[in-house]
């Protein structure tokens, strides 16, 4: 089809911005009405937009002409995480040890498992290095991946995949391992599947959701701060 040949650069760029916004908000509205996992925005929106770009062979430079300011909002979004931390300070003060140990264990297991993947498989270095930060939220992951020599774009995709996987595997795993406490469910979901895990935890229960979001934020901050140290291991 080659839309790039038919339309001029800037009108195609504007179309791409509209496509991205529409794809995202339509899947969000759809999920509000039909709570099926395949309609979840984290699965449906990227799939729809990626398919359109691939099928119509839209050149990436045209796609980025106007959409490049969307990732610029990742930094203010990181700062915005201060508000939920402040709001839930009483919950944090109630279980300080559990939360901080949960964050540390999740972080170490995430980096440790990546170390195993890097050393025992034959994947190209750019791919396996982008994998290291996959279990933290995207704004933190994109910052931290530079320290390990990963590629931000690949990292963004792997973070997304990790979130989807965490959402899909958590319930059978919790059942099989007989995990019942809401704190354990929330913290493990937040530490392993970031935002998607927090959304899933919110469906399990309110307390699980809040705990998962807090863990996601703390794991992200911890990853960004410790990345230069962990990078020495790789």
């Amino acid at each position: 089809m080659g839309l790039g040949r038919i339309m001029s650069g800037s009108s195609l760029g504007l179309m791409c911005l509209l496509l991205t916004l529409a794809g995202y908000y339509i899947s969000k509205q759809l999920y509000l009405r039909q709570q099926r996992i395949w309609f979840a925005p984290i699965i449906m929106a990227p799939t729809l937009i990626l398919l359109t770009v691939v099928i119509f062979k839209i050149p990436l430079e045209d796609y980025f002409q106007f959409t490049h300011w969307l990732p610029a909002l990742l930094a203010p979004a990181t700062i915005a995480f201060a508000v939920p931390i402040y709001r839930e300070r009483t919950l944090i003060k109630r279980y300080p040890l559990t939360i901080s140990v949960g964050v540390l264990v999740g972080l170490c297991l995430g980096v440790g498992s990546s170390w195993m993947i890097l050393h025992f498989t034959h994947m190209p270095a750019e791919l396996s290095k982008s994998l290291i930060v996959r279990s933290v939220s995207t704004p933190f992951a994109i910052e931290a991946t530079r320290a390990f020599g990963g590629i931000p774009e690949l990292t963004a995709m792997l973070v997304l995949l990790t979130g989807i996987m965490g959402m899909l595997i958590c319930e059978p795993l919790f059942k099989a391992a007989r995990i019942q406490s809401s704190l354990a469910k929330g913290i493990s979901l937040g530490a392993s599947a970031h935002g998607a895990g927090a959304a899933k935890a919110n469906q399990i229960g309110r307390e699980e959701g809040v705990i998962a979001s807090l863990t996601m934020i703390f794991t992200g901050i911890a990853m960004v701060i410790t990345a230069p140290v962990f990078a020495l291991l790789f």
């Binding site: 402040y86 040890l97 599947a193």
Partner: protein
């Protein structure tokens, strides 16, 4: 006719507040990033900004209502902001096609270990911390008596 007009005005006011708050957070973020870059900080500007805003909120120099709407929107629509980088992965189509299966299997195993390992440790620790807290409360009651 007064009510719908009022509702409309309220909605407009609501949207304006949201817009102003988001712009404010963006400006704050870009200042933090610029400062972090110019002093070659190891910690990225956005994380420094997070710490600063938390400090400002805790000291009550910035009331929560000044940032609550903007922060809720930025966090709620986080997915939208990283769709463009995900689309950019088409550049690496070849690698992903040849290592796709291996990648998915590795990621599934790794996610399972992180999820179960963390849940297991937290489950044990939670029971310990709750017991500690109960003991603490019990000892305080004895002192009061």
């Amino acid at each position: 006719m007064i009510f719908p007009l009022n509702a409309h005005r309220n909605l407009l006011k609501c949207k304006t507040t949201l817009f102003v708050q988001v712009v404010g957070l963006c400006l704050f973020a870009w200042i933090c990033q610029w400062v972090a870059q110019s002093v070659h900080s190891i910690i990225p500007g956005s994380v420094i900004g997070l710490g600063l805003l938390l400090l400002l909120l805790s000291c009550r120099w910035v009331p929560e209502k000044v940032v609550n709407k903007g922060s809720a929107w930025l966090i709620g629509d986080l997915l939208l902001f990283f769709i463009p980088p995900v689309v950019a992965m088409t550049k690496y189509q070849l690698i992903l096609e040849s290592y796709g299966v291996e990648l998915i299997v590795c990621m599934l195993l790794a996610s399972t270990s992180v999820l179960l390992g963390t849940a297991f440790v937290v489950d044990k620790l939670f029971k310990f911390e709750r017991q500690q807290r109960l003991n603490h409360i019990a000892s305080q009651r004895i002192q009061i008596r």
